[in-house]
């Protein structure tokens, strides 16, 4: 059964007032995300991965020892990553639920320290990739950065928040200014309720 491109949870222009333009979402969702879906489906058709879940495919095809991942991993991981990404953002303002704030303070010392580490991770990921806030198996939270489509599922971590730092995610709105994109993301775009809901 083929995977489908999920609709954005909001209109393409819903984040425009907060620094992510309609044009960005039109390209990012309708072209890039769609291409990962289409290519992913094409590559798994007729293989052992046909009929598996996204999570199974990602865990099963990720090769930690490889310099470059294979096409199935690249497309399916990016498919999953973007599914999460749209949900982790939202229009309007969103207060941070107390439970999440408490967990961040416990793991990082303060919310500001978490934001600072998250921004540094995103800025420091050379080339394409993602910055993530993750929950480890022992319940502690951490910030990681990953290349290309690699994501927390590869390390048995739970993704709480992810920020796409591929250039296609910010080039239209921020050109080369990735740090400005990251701080805008943290200050204005994150749907903290969605993040908190992933704490489990």
């Amino acid at each position: 059964m083929a995977f489908e491109l999920p609709d954005l949870p909001y209109a393409h222009d819903a984040l425009a007032a907060k620094g992510m333009s309609a044009e960005t979402l039109e390209y990012h969702h309708d072209l890039h995300h769609k291409a990962y879906v289409d290519n992913g489906n094409k590559l798994i058709a007729g293989t052992e991965w046909d009929g598996k879940t996204l999570e199974e495919i990602i865990s099963g095809t990720y090769d930690a020892s490889s310099v470059a991942q294979n096409g199935i991993f690249n497309n399916i991981s990016q498919l999953w990553n973007h599914n999460q990404f749209w949900e982790m953002m939202g229009p309007g303002t969103s207060a941070m639920p107390g439970e999440l704030e408490k967990a961040l303070v416990e793991s990082f010392g303060s919310v500001d320290e978490f934001k600072s580490q998250f921004s540094a991770a995103g800025a420091g990921q050379f080339g394409s990739g993602w910055a993530w806030l993750v929950k480890n198996a022992d319940g502690s939270l951490a910030v990681i950065k990953t290349e290309n489509g690699v994501n927390p599922l590869c390390f048995n971590q739970t993704a709480l928040l992810g920020c796409d730092v591929w250039e296609h995610s910010y080039y239209i709105d921020f050109r080369n200014k990735r740090p400005a994109y990251l701080s805008n993301f943290l200050d204005n775009l994150v749907n903290w309720e969605n993040v908190a809901s992933r704490l489990g």
Binding site: Y27, L31, H32, A35, N39, V67, A68, Q69, G71, N74, F126, G127, S128, G129, E147, N148, G149, W166, E167, H168, Y171, I172, R175, N176
Partner: protein
């Protein structure tokens, strides 16, 4: 890597003013960067500290809009003035206090130091890239030399087969995420290969390929190289890029690497 006239003057002034001529004589063997720093330290009391930058952002050999409509002017401007400039700033930061060497000389061991790999690679790659491009009306009058064409045929069968292989290597399926595609000569100088590299790696870096390979032609496939005009249509960018390849430069790169068994200087 030029010392400015001001800095040279200060060095001469400071050298003659030093009360320890013996230490000055011992400096004869020092590298220029070291002398510069000493001169700067002396001058610090007189003027603002002088930054000793080894690497400079080269000017583009053509205006920003010269490669239109194949590569758009806004992209050329940001690509050169922001992206390449940042690599230059960062490689200077990473090599501060070290001996000045041509950027080419940093490539072989670049994998040993991440800042050199990323920013040094970025500087070399972009400096190399600008030189191989030319406005279409000039580029279209150029073609591979007889020697280059012969090695292309030997290595790939034909020019069209080389082109197809290059485009396949440039596709997102082959270089996923950020990277470059290269047409490169082997050390012996008797065969060409097409190589895809991630991020700012290049074939001159030991460990990237089975042996160090010598680029004659390269293509930036980072999204910043094409996003404003092509968005996610990388194959269209690649196909259009051929129209601004200056084969005269590629030919001279080829002749140089085959004769000298080292990479092209930038």
């Amino acid at each position: 890597m030029k010392l400015s006239a001001t800095i040279s003057t200060l060095l001469i002034a400071s050298a003659s003013a030093w009360s320890t001529p013996m230490s000055m004589k011992a400096d004869v063997g020092s590298n220029r960067r070291d002398l510069l720093k000493k001169g700067a330290a002396f001058a610090a009391g007189i003027a603002a500290p002088i930054a000793a930058n080894a690497y400079e952002l080269p000017d583009l050999p053509y205006p920003f809009d010269a490669l239109e409509p194949y590569i758009d002017a806004p992209t050329m401007k940001i690509h050169h003035d922001k992206h390449h400039a940042t690599y230059v700033t960062n490689i200077n930061k990473a090599t501060e206090g070290k001996d000045e060497v041509p950027i080419l000389d940093l490539m072989a061991d670049a994998l040993e130091a991440t800042p050199v790999r990323n920013s040094g690679g970025g500087h070399y790659n972009h400096a190399f890239f600008w030189e191989e491009l030319a406005p279409h009306d000039k580029a279209s009058k150029t073609k591979p030399s007889a020697d280059l064409a012969a090695m292309i045929d030997k290595s790939f069968g034909s020019f069209d087969e080389m082109k197809a292989k290059f485009e396949a290597q440039a596709a997102p399926g082959a270089v996923f995420g950020s990277g470059w595609v290269w047409l490169a000569v082997n050390q012996k100088g008797d065969a060409l290969q097409i190589i895809g590299t991630p991020n700012q790696d290049n074939p001159l870096m030991k460990g990237v390929c089975d042996e160090i390979m010598l680029p004659v032609l390269g293509l930036d496939v980072w999204e910043h190289a094409y996003y404003l005009k092509y968005q996610n249509r990388r194959p269209e960018y690649v196909s259009n890029w051929w129209s601004v390849v200056n084969w005269d430069k590629v030919n001279s790169n080829f002749d140089y690497v085959v004769a000298n068994h080292v990479g092209v200087s930038v």
